[in-house]
């Protein structure tokens, strides 16, 4: 009975989101306040209604109500209660519901918080955001409904999934379910989908405000940017966390010693992140200098469309991927919706193009403005390279009929140099002042970090005899990092000199009074550290594979791995485990026992390789049990030495920290989240008085 209630609230939620979409648009158009208010109430209802549905699905998963087809698919008795709950996003039906629920939540929060401000934009904001929500709720309701039950039709071989009892059928109650895909039973997969979804759905807020601004013609005032700045940051950071957790999951579970494989689905997530990052920066140009208004619109439309595109290729199997959900009937609906969104918003932008007048003046090529434009261009270039590599197999198949693969080598070569310039710019650009930067001052600021980093890396490279490319990479990281740290140092110095504060207080106050600036710098530090991890992964990785008998050792670098014995046992959730006992030693000295293992999930008939990892800040030694002979006397291992890889995770944490600081509003300057009117500055003569 309780599942029926979930289905009913889902249906009501769908009706109300549809209602909100059209009633708010109509109310906004005709200026009927009551209509818009009613639409708002509808939005405020959709979220709790969907919450009921979500809670009921979770309840069914938890209590193992196998009469629901979804529960039968993703939950099982052997799974821990915690995993049963996370199974909400372990399959198609649940995850789309979860997605719709989050989106509805975002929109509801906006309406609660921002209702009194930005009133002119609200009707169209509601209409745009709820159109999207309606689509997702509709998909849940009509195409991939988690409340579908299992029925057995007389004489049929297979079970039928349907909401209502088909003719000649009996309800079917299985004993146990299939359970969650073994690969998804990992902490990264528990955090990754929700954060990713929060990221993807979060971009609906800036996007909808941008569309509302275009419709109402308020885009000139850029109110929408002020309103959505923090929302964009929130969406962005969740997307970042999602990317990092996904990488961590791949590293721990997929058993290939890497964390980023340039798979289409990974790329699909990276692309909106890239354009979203570009958007976060170009918005600053508008706030500070009134520039790039059209550009902001293009970027936010692109970001949102790319996140929809990401879901599209993830769930339809258009492009072959390791991570794709199974092919499903969502395809045509998604396609129609994405086409509509993309075409509609671009057309709207075209119609309103001339209202987006920016004041573009540049006093000097060497200025923060130029750096911003260059940076934006780089982000787009990377996005394009990634996009092109991702869809090219499809193009190739269409044009020549040949299936091809575009693998990591392409992406590394195409985006590597661009990322290099981007990281460099990240260090150098903050040194530039708005409007005009004196060359001499720049030289003075850059001289010491430049020489210092060059010296350090040259020395390091000389001592370790490294490949030139890797030296270049290390130099880049050192330079950028020291430039960013120098920014902190200069700020602290200025405060010490001006106010006589001690350095620590000065640092604290510096960050405290300039959340955005220094939060941003901390994010940059995080990115540099991640870059360090990537450079280590690309340049210094070592690996070996070999079969050894009990008591023998494998050597990689100055590490030896001694194989002691194999042992097997049963796991708690229906897995058969074969574990190798090995000893890792360095230079003849034993460091640690490592137990790489292979878990075989009997029901799902799927093996999962779990590495044994010796982890230090400098490097990971990552051991995989590849195979063994039946007597257990010998086993095959694959050993990776992954230098610097932990900096990816450390950098990720820095990014999150920086974003929290940057998004925190400055109490002293709450009013200073402003829209500057640059035309006053540049087009009107300075009043002469007296």
């Amino acid at each position: 009975m309780i599942e029926d209630i979930g289905l009913i609230t889902l249906t009501i939620a769908f009706t109300f989101s549809l209602y909100a979409t059209f009633v708010s648009a109509y109310g906004g158009w005709r200026g009927y306040e009551a209509w818009v208010e009613s639409a708002r109430n509808a939005v405020l209802l959709v979220f709790p209604l969907l919450t009921i549905s979500v809670v009921i699905v979770v309840y069914a998963l938890y209590t193992l109500d196998f009469s629901l087809a979804y529960v039968y698919d993703v939950s099982s008795q052997a799974m821990s209660p915690f995993l049963r709950v996370t199974a909400l996003w372990g399959g198609q039906q649940g995850s789309v519901l979860f997605w719709a629920w989050m989106m509805a939540g975002f929109v509801a929060v906006v309406l609660v918080r921002k209702w009194e401000r930005d009133r002119e934009m609200m009707p169209y904001f509601i209409a745009t955001a709820m159109l999207t929500t309606t689509f997702f709720v509709g998909v849940v309701l009509f195409i991939t409904n988690p409340f579908m039950r299992l029925w057995h039709i007389e004489g049929a071989d297979e079970l039928t999934k349907a909401l209502f009892q088909p003719a000649n059928s009996m309800p079917y109650f299985p004993e146990d379910g299939g359970g969650l895909n073994p690969l998804l039973r990992h902490f990264g997969m528990i955090g990754h989908p929700p954060t990713t979804y929060l990221g993807f759905t979060g971009f609906v807020i800036p996007f909808s405000f941008a569309i509302a601004a275009l419709i109402t013609g308020h885009s000139r005032g850029d109110e929408w940017i002020r309103t959505t700045r923090r929302w964009t940051l929130v969406a962005w950071i969740f997307l970042s966390i999602g990317l990092i957790l996904g990488g961590r999951w791949a590293y721990d579970v997929l058993g290939w010693g890497g964390f980023w494989g340039w798979d289409p689905v990974e790329n699909a997530m990276l692309m909106p992140w890239l354009t979203g990052t570009a958007f976060l920066h170009s918005v600053m140009m508008t706030e500070k200098r009134g520039m790039m208004k059209k550009w902001n619109m293009i970027l936010i439309i692109l970001t949102y469309s790319l996140s929809l595109f990401g879901t599209f290729i993830t769930r339809t199997g258009v492009i072959s991927s390791v991570h794709a959900f199974s092919k499903s009937a969502l395809g045509p609906a998604f396609f129609a919706f994405i086409g509509l969104t993309f075409l509609g918003s671009v057309t709207l932008l075209y119609l309103r193009w001339d209202t987006l007048k920016s004041e573009h003046t540049l006093e000097s090529f060497i200025s923060r403005e130029s750096a911003f434009v260059l940076q934006n261009m780089l982000f787009l270039a990377i996005t394009f390279a990634v996009f092109w590599g991702t869809v090219f197999p499809l193009i190739s198949e269409l044009v020549t009929g040949t299936k091809i693969t575009v693998g990591p080598p392409y992406f590394q070569k195409a985006t590597g140099p661009l990322f290099f310039v981007l990281v460099l710019l990240m260090g150098v650009a903050p040194l530039f002042a708005w409007r005009k930067q004196a060359m001499r001052a720049l030289g003075k600021a850059i001289w010491i970090p430049f020489a210092g980093s060059l010296g350090i890396t040259a020395l390091w490279g000389y001592v370790h005899r490294m490949h030139p490319a890797s030296i270049l990479g290390l130099w880049l990281v050192t330079l950028t990092l020291s430039l960013i740290l120098a920014e902190f140092w200069k700020g602290v110095q200025a405060r010490c000199a001006a106010r006589g504060e001690n350095p620590l207080t000065a640092l604290f106050n510096l960050i405290g009074r300039n959340h955005r600036r220094y939060g941003g710098y901390i994010i940059h530090i995080g990115v540099v550290l991640i870059a360090l991890g990537f450079i280590g992964d690309a340049n210094f990785k070592m690996e070996t594979q070999g079969t050894v008998s009990s008591g023998e050792s494998l050597t990689v670098g100055d590490y030896q791995l001694r194989f002691e014995q194999l042992r097997g046992y049963h796991g708690s959730d229906g897995r058969e485990i074969v574990e190798a006992v090995t000893t890792l030693s360095q230079g003849g000295e034993a460091i640690r026992n490592l137990n790489p293992r292979r878990d075989y999930f009997v029901v799902q008939q799927q093996p999962v390789t779990i590495p044994g990892v010796y982890s230090t800040p400098g490097k990971d030694v990552y051991v995989l049990l590849v195979g063994w002979d039946d007597t257990g006397k010998s086993a095959t291992f694959r050993i990776y030495v992954n230098p610097l890889i932990n900096w990816v995770w450390i950098g990720g944490v820095m990014m999150i920290l920086g974003t929290i600081i940057a998004a925190w509003s400055n109490p002293a300057q709450r009013e200073a989240t402003y829209v500057i009117r640059p035309e006053v500055l540049t087009t009107q003569p300075v009043p002469q008085e007296g």
Binding site: E158, G255, G257, G261, D263, P264, M291, S320, S321, V322, A324, S326, K327, A329, H360, T361, L362, E363, F365, E369, S370, L374, L380, A381, A385, W388, F392, P393, S396, V399, T400, T402, K403, I404, T405, V406, G407, P408, P409, Y410, A414, R513, T544, G546, S549, Q606, P607, T609, V626, G627, W628, D629, D630, T636, R638, V686, P687, Q688, E689, G690
Partner: protein
Amino acid sequence: MQTMRRKLMSVLLILVMSLYAVSTVSAQDGTGYPTDDDVNRIAKQLYCPVCPNTPLDVCETKACEDWRAQIRDQLSWGWTDQQVIDYFVAQYGERVLAEPQRKGFTSLVWFLPLIAILVGAGIVYEILKGWRAQRLAPRATAPPQIAPEVLEKIERELREMD
């Protein structure tokens, strides 16, 4: 349609299940060439022909083990790396190559981003030049007069902000 889809699903399932069937490795005979590392060096440049987007060197399926064994055989026959790769392309199609070729239509995958970057750089330059052209004529050097009490107010507020 419904049954058709279910059929497809079950086929996929069969495919996947069959891929994972047996997965033990027997000890290799002898220690000489080719070693596992030699095999992986080549397998790294190839993708599994049946699995979705998985590099051959890390792929765990039975089929991939066969292919790695085949690479080992070919190496022991004295084939060069390139010969092995060419054999794979001929036998299983171009999709086994991790790095797309640089000839024919496929070369577009390499060229277009390059062209896009050049065009993009040109556009950036054009934009910046355009903006610079709109730069204001130099202002009169005479500083504008500001009432002292207003100036005082501004400075005070600036101090408060810090």
